[in-house]
Symmetry: C2
Subunit: 114 residues, 2 copies
Amino acid sequence: MKTCSSSYTCPVEATIHLIGGKYKAVILWHLRDQVLRFSELHRLVPKATTKMLTQQLRELESDGLISRTVYPVVPPKTEYALTEFGQTLLPVLESLCDWGTIYLEKISDADCSF
Amino acid sequence: MKTCSSSYTCPVEATIHLIGGKYKAVILWHLRDQVLRFSELHRLVPKATTKMLTQQLRELESDGLISRTVYPVVPPKTEYALTEFGQTLLPVLESLCDWGTIYLEKISDADCSF
DNA sequence: CAGCATCCCTACAGATACTG
DNA sequence: CAGTATCTGTAGGGATGCTG
């Protein structure tokens, strides 16, 4: 999941490469309307270990989608936010969310085996 | 990347789970306006090995996004197409593509180191 | 609080060869 | 043509413990 600018055969591939990571889309989604600290993010994405969360955040950062601001205070404080470029993803994230909502309704109707 | 209906914390996660696979979005994208045979798909997604391609296609099929039609002829002929449900993903795929296009322009402007 | 460092393991994915 | 089967390596990712 490294960004290697390897020739994409189509733009869809490029987008998925950026937001298709295990927790990336969710992270971006949570940051859509608010700035969040590491621990807040972690609370919102509990399935991610700190290592994973850190890693995904770093990748999003190096792709220019989010910003990371460290406040030199005690105790430490780091804030994550969408960059301007990250904001341009919002329509994409919204369509992901919209479709996901419909999908979840669909499967909760059909399959109640869980 | 198995479909296990494990409780999603948000719909975005669910969508990514379905189309976030390594080649899934690209496959769906190629099927958006045409029916394709295995070999045709493989030509369009050459980076995928036959194993990978088969696997991704099976997952898409079991998620109800694409249909697989086998014609009992010699030589064998199999056709893949979007299901009606798969069609509902088109807006999502389009927004992925739109954004990807812009992104690719952006990085080809900024970084010419490749 | 926000992480980094380690150890460790398995499952993802590549290469290759074979079949109806 | 449209796959399956097997064998294998690598890295994705979990658990745990430590630090500025």
